[in-house]
Assembly symmetry: C2
Homo-oligomer: 485 residues x 2
C-alpha cells in the first residue's frame, strides 16, 4: 500500500489542495437530525447563508426514529400547568448527580438556566407538547405530555434534588420523534436553509492556520466541496453503528443486542472533528437500557446478581439498571418475582432462568450459591413488610414481601435478554458549542452538538437528554458558527 | 487571542515550515524509560543512528522509580528453575481474562509467544533476575526473583488458566526499578545511542503526505529540531500527572490520592501522536491499587460495601480490589476483621470506621443498614467453618469464621485511605508497535510503546505488565522504526 493510500480517510484537506468549490455558504451543517436542524434554524435566523448536508434521502436521522422525549425543566409551561414545581437549581442538582461520573457544569449550568426559554423556542418552531401527566415512568404510549423520564423521584436522587418530571413529549399518539422532526424540518425549510440530501460528509477542509473553512462531501460518486465562510457544525450522531469503533472504545456495548440509532451513527463526525484538532472524550460511555418495565408491577421483584445479592433499587430508571447490570455486575443478573407480581415484560421477551415452589428450589434451578437467595429474600421481606428497604430504598409503592409461591426469576443476562445501547462519548465542546482541543483551546471555525459530542451525560442517563442537549447546543452551535466563532 | 495563538500546542509542524534541522538521525526516541531504552537499543542493533530525547536530566523515568517487576512467562528459565510449569498458551488465557474488558489479542498473543525470548534478551542486557520464589503476592522486599503478581492463583482466574507466578524481579535488595533501568541505560550507552537530556519534545514534524519525519523539542529555551529519517518512537509515559486530562478522560482516578508515576507522565506523547493522526483508546482505563495487604493475615477479613455485602474474594490482586472498590462500589468499602486477624496495613495507614464487641455494635458504628452485616457474617462464617466460600471462592488458606471479638472495620473509602493510580489509556498500536489511526491504518513513520499506548491491559491489571509490555513493544517499536515502518 502506498503512503498516500494509507492516509487516514478523516484527515482534513488543506484548503490549498481543494481544486475548486462546488458550493459556498456561511455555515455548513453536517447532519440533519435534531442538533443539525436546530443549528441550521438558528444560524439562518442570525443572518447566515446555511447549507445542510444530510447523507440520507431526507432529514430526521436517529431523532426522527426516537421516542421524541426532550429533557426540559426549571418550570416550563407544561410543568406549571400540571402543578409541578421546578427550578433551574433543582434541575442542575439532579443532572449533576445523575449524569456522572463528573458531568461538565460548563454545559449543565446553561442548559438548566436556559431550559424554559428553550421550551418556548421549540414551541415557536411548531413543536406541540402534550399537557397531560403520564405516571408510567417510561415513554408514554398515548399523547401525554410530561413524565418522569429518569430517576428523579427515586433513591438516591429524590434526596439530592426536589423531584420534578422533566420528560416532555410532543403531542401525538404514535411516533413522537417523527413529529418533533417534522416540525423542526418545516422550520428549517421556512428559514430557507439549503439542504443537500444524499450528501455524505467525508472530511473537513482547513486553512493553513488550522481554521476549519469547509467540508468535502460526496453525493453518489460526485464530490461536493463546500466552502463555509464562517464555520462548520458537526451534528451527525454517535458511533453505535460502527462496530469496530465500539469494540475499540466501549466494547461492553457490543453485548447489547439492540442499537438505538441509525446506520448514520458511524462516528464520522467525531473522527472528522478529531482529525481537525478536536478532542474526543468519555468514549467509554454509553446509554445501556434494560427494558424490563413495563409492566410496573415487576418493580415489586428483586434484581439479584450471581451471588444472589441485590444491587440496585428496582424502581430506578431503566438506563440506570442497565448500566449497573452490565458494567458493575458483568450482566450476571436476574429479576426474582413471586406469584403476586409475575407478568411478562412488555418491551422485550424475557426467558425464565428458573422457577420453584420454594426459594431454595428456585435458587437451585438458577444455580445460585446455596442459601444465598433465601437470605436475600428473608432480609428483604422482613423490612418490606414494614414498608422499608434499608439497603436500596425502593419506593414504598413497590415494597411487598415476596412470599407468594410459586417463585420465578427472569434471565436478564445480555445473552438472554435484549439490552439496547447507544454511545455517549464524542467531541468535547464548550458552552458555545465550539469544539475544544486536548489543550482546551477552540478549534477555529468548528462547532458540534448532539451525540457527535460528549454532552450532558457522561455515563448516567435519563430519557430525553439526547434530544434535549442536541437541540439546545445545536442552537448554540448554529449561532456561534453564524458569528464566525 | 489570535487564531495563530489558539493553535493546539501539540499540532504537528509541517516539515516545510521547519527552518533548519539541529540534528539528524535515523530514529528519534521520545522518552528514556523502559520502553524508550529498549526501543533505542533495538533500533541501534538494527543499524540505525538513534537519538533519544529525555526531558529529565537522565534516563529512567517512572520505570526507574517503580518496583521493577516484569510480567514474563511461558516457561522462563527462572520459572523452570523454581519448578513452575508454564506455557505461552496458559499465559495467554490468563492475560485475556485478567486484562479486560476486551484485551487486544493482536498484542497479547505475540507478547506471550515471545516472553521467554524477551527474558533472555533482558538478561543479555545485563538485567539479573532473582532466582528465589516469594510467596507474598506483592512486591518482594528482599532479592527474591519470582512472585504471583496478579490474580493467577485466585478465583476466578485459577479456573481459567493453570496458575503460574510470572512477576519477575531484578535481583537486588531495595529499589528494583532503579537496577533494571541502570542495566538498560548502560546497554543504551554501549549501543552508542545519542542521548539529549533536558530535552522536552513538543510536537512531531510531518511531511505533506502525513509521514512523521521528525520531532521538535526544547532544551532549556532553545529549540532542538530533530529530523528522523526512518521514524519516531513515542515512549514518554502516561498522563496521570496531567490532572486536567485525567478529569476529562478518567475522572474517577482523581479520587486516588497517590499517583504512580513522575511529572513526565503528562500525556504529551499521547497528544502528539493523536495530533499526527493516531487514535487514543480506552482513555477511561487506569490501574487502581488498594494496598491493604500486606499483612497477609488481613485477607481473612471481609470486604463489604455500603450495603454490608461482600463484593470480591479478599485474596484478589490489589489492583483488582482497587478497581472493584472504586469503579463498582463507588469507593464505599470497608474491611471487616476480628481479633484473630487484626493488624494494621503496612503500606498505608488505615483509619478504623468502627469497632464493636458484637457485629451489631460494629454495624451501628459504621452506619451500615441494621442487621445487614450480621447476615453477611453469618453466611460467611457458616461456610468458612467448612473451608468454603460459595459467593466468591476465596482461597482456603484465608478462610476462617470471623467470630473472635472484638470486631473492627478499616475505612477503605478513598477519602480516608490512600489508593494509588496510573493511567492505562493511550495510543493504539499494532503488533509491530506502529501507531494506528481511527480507521486502523498505520500513521507512517510513527511508533509507540509503554504507557503512551493502550497496551496489554485495557483495565484489569497485574503488576509487571507496564514494564513488561513497555520493554517488549519498545523493542518492537525500535526495530520497526529502524526498518522505516
Amino acid at each position: 500500500m502506498s503512503e498516500t493510500a494509507q492516509r487516514d480517510p478523516f484527515a482534513p484537506r488543506p484548503a490549498r489542495d481543494v481544486p475548486s468549490w462546488d458550493a459556498v455558504c456561511d455555515v455548513a451543517v453536517v447532519g440533519l437530525g435534531v442538533a443539525g436542524a436546530c443549528a441550521a434554524i438558528e444560524a439562518a435566523a442570525a443572518g447566515a447563508d446555511v447549507l445542510a448536508l444530510e447523507r440520507a434521502s431526507g432529514g430526521g436521522g436517529t431523532s426522527a426514529a426516537s421516542g421524541g422525549l426532550l429533557y426540559l425543566g426549571g418550570g416550563t409551561p407544561v410543568q406549571r400547568a400540571l402543578g409541578f414545581e421546578d427550578s433551574a437549581e433543582e434541575m442542575f442538582k439532579y443532572l449533576m448527580a445523575a449524569c456522572g461520573p463528573d458531568p461538565d457544569p460548563a454545559l449543565v449550568e446553561p442548559y438548566c438556566a436556559g431550559s424554559v426559554e428553550h421550551f418556548r423556542w421549540l414551541a415557536a418552531q411548531g413543536v406541540a407538547f402534550g399537557e397531560r401527566f403520564f405516571p408510567g415512568a417510561h415513554e408514554p404510549p398515548g399523547d401525554d405530555g410530561l413524565t418522569y423520564s429518569g430517576s428523579e423521584d427515586v433513591h438516591p436522587f429524590c434526596t439530592i434534588a426536589r423531584p420534578a418530571p422533566r420528560g416532555h413529549c410532543p403531542k401525538v399518539v404514535g411516533p413522537k420523534g417523527a413529529l418533533l422532526m417534522r416540525a423542526l424540518l418545516a422550520s428549517v425549510e421556512r428559514a430557507r436553509v439549503r439542504v443537500a440530501t444524499g450528501a455524505r460528509a467525508e472530511r473537513l477542509v482547513v486553512e493553513s492556520d488550522g481554521r476549519v473553512c469547509g467540508v468535502e462531501a460526496r453525493v453518489a460518486r460526485e464530490p461536493l466541496r463546500v466552502r463555509a465562510r464562517r464555520g462548520v457544525v458537526l451534528a451527525s450522531g454517535g458511533f453505535i453503528y460502527d462496530e469496530a469503533s465500539v469494540a475499540r472504545h466501549a466494547p461492553w456495548l457490543l453485548r447489547c443486542r439492540a442499537k438505538t440509532g441509525t446506520e448514520s451513527d458511524d462516528g464520522s463526525g467525531i473522527w472528522m472533528g478529531v482529525a481537525a484538532g478536536g478532542v474526543a472524550i468519555r468514549m467509554d460511555a454509553g446509554d445501556i437500557t434494560l427494558p424490563i418495565f413495563p409492566p410496573v408491577v415487576l418493580k415489586q421483584g428483586l434484581f439479584v446478581n450471581a451471588q444472589a445479592q441485590r444491587f440496585l433499587n428496582e424502581d430506578a430508571y431503566f438506563g440506570r439498571s442497565g448500566e449497573f447490570a452490565l458494567l458493575r455486575q458483568d450482566g450476571q443478573v436476574y429479576l426474582v418475582v413471586d406469584e403476586g407480581c409475575f407478568e411478562r415484560p412488555a418491551l422485550f421477551p424475557a426467558e425464565l432462568a428458573g422457577t420453584g415452589e420454594t426459594i431454595a428450589e428456585l435458587e437451585g434451578e438458577i444455580g445460585l450459591p446455596k442459601g444465598a437467595l433465601e437470605r436475600t429474600l428473608e432480609y428483604y421481606n422482613l423490612h418490606a413488610a414494614q414498608g422499608l428497604d434499608p439497603l436500596f430504598h425502593k419506593g414504598r409503592a413497590h415494597l411487598r414481601p415476596l412470599d407468594r409461591p410459586p417463585f420465578a426469576a427472569f434471565d436478564l443476562r445480555p445473552e438472554r435478554f435484549v439490552y439496547s445501547a447507544f454511545t455517549l462519548g464524542g467531541l468535547q465542546i464548550d458552552a458555545d458549542a465550539a469544539v475544544l482541543s486536548q489543550a482546551g483551546l477552540r478549534v477555529p471555525g468548528l462547532f458540534a452538538a448532539g451525540r457527535t459530542t460528549s454532552g450532558l451525560s457522561k455515563q448516567g442517563y435519563s430519557s430525553g437528554i439526547s434530544l434535549g442537549d442536541g437541540s439546545f447546543f445545536g442552537r448554540r452551535a448554529g449561532r456561534s458558527a453564524a458569528r464566525g466563532g
